[in-house]
């Protein structure tokens, strides 16, 4: 009887024991069995403790910025500097976010804008475009350097495109339409970093 009990306990050890709050949510809010993705922290927690997705209160994004005309302006002080923007898209019918900036006049003619977008893996990856005055996207995807990996719960996408000094450009952030839980997690928090290099 005791041996049977020991064997039962021993076999039970083959069943993974995963405590709540130990893993970050995977793609499309995936979590260990019996746990759900907490929308506030991106942590896998017990189902009864999971909160719905929410945007950060301290984002630098200011609504309304849902069109090119109402784009939120930010300043890139000089060439070589990096500006960081935090925002949230896809929540409460907020389909897209727009941010505009002007390339400083003192930048060289062949200036490159490097845009990096990092975001939690759990929700829909955002798609970022860099629109020139005429509306064309000048950004080309490229591999990120020092990329966030899926392992740490964040993912990143990078792009670069030529910009002209003295001209105004608009960053467009929308949902990519991929990995969005069939639409139920079609939102995300994001962090944009824009760097102008020559």
């Amino acid at each position: 009887m005791r041996r049977l009990l020991l064997l039962t306990i021993s076999l039970a050890a083959c069943t993974p024991d995963i405590s709540t709050g130990t893993y970050l949510c995977g793609a499309e809010e995936s979590c260990p069995g019996g746990q759900k993705c907490d929308g506030a922290t991106n942590l896998c927690v017990s189902a009864e403790n999971a909160l719905p997705f929410a945007c950060n209160q301290d984002d630098s994004e200011v609504e309304p910025n849902d069109s090119v005309a109402t784009a939120q302006n930010f300043v890139v002080p000089n060439c070589g500097s990096t500006v960081e923007i935090t925002g949230c898209e896809g929540k409460d019918a907020d389909a897209a976010d727009y941010f505009s900036f002007m390339v400083p006049a003192q930048c060289a003619a062949q200036t490159i804008a490097v845009v990096r977008t990092s975001y939690p893996l759990a929700y829909e990856p955002p798609a970022v475009n860099l629109l020139a005055t005429g509306g064309s996207d000048v950004l080309t995807d490229q591999p990120c350097t020092a990329s966030a990996t899926d392992e740490d719960g964040d993912s990143a996408a990078c792009g670069r495109g030529p910009v002209t000094s003295g001209m105004t450009y608009t960053l467009e952030v929308t949902g990519s339409g991929e990995k969005n839980c069939g639409g139920t997690c079609a939102h995300n928090r994001y962090r944009l970093t824009v760097t102008l290099t020559q």
Binding site: D17, C25, G26, D152
Partner: protein, 151 residues
Amino acid sequence: MLSRLASVVVVGCLASTAWAGPNDPIVITTPGDRSPGNIATAASLAGVGLLAGGLGVYFHLDGKSASDDVSAGVYTGKAWTPTQIALVDKAHDDRTRAIVGYSIGGAALIGAIVYWIVTDPPSETTIIQPHSAPAVMPTQGGALLGGTWSF
């Protein structure tokens, strides 16, 4: 081996006659001989039991390793990715295989033991009744005392 054992029994019995009376019966018990087929069947069952049990242990340890890799009691800083999902699936599958292995192995070993006991051939008992008669033969200047025994 069995014949040697029988010889030992016989010798033991004969030795015991030294203490018994000359006319006491000699009892010889010879264990039954197992046929090669009988031994092979029992050995096969036991072999299957050990093999299945061994596989059960292998999958048990393999599943435990996968389970340990994905189990977490404190914040890991890792996302729940297909890697972790695959480890959980592996632990679950190996657990099932271990249970099957242990079950088959245990059943076969128990079967081998039961088969060995049930098919134990009966031992043969032979009782020998010795007959003895004293003999006194007169000799020159005396007599020779002896005896004869027959079985």
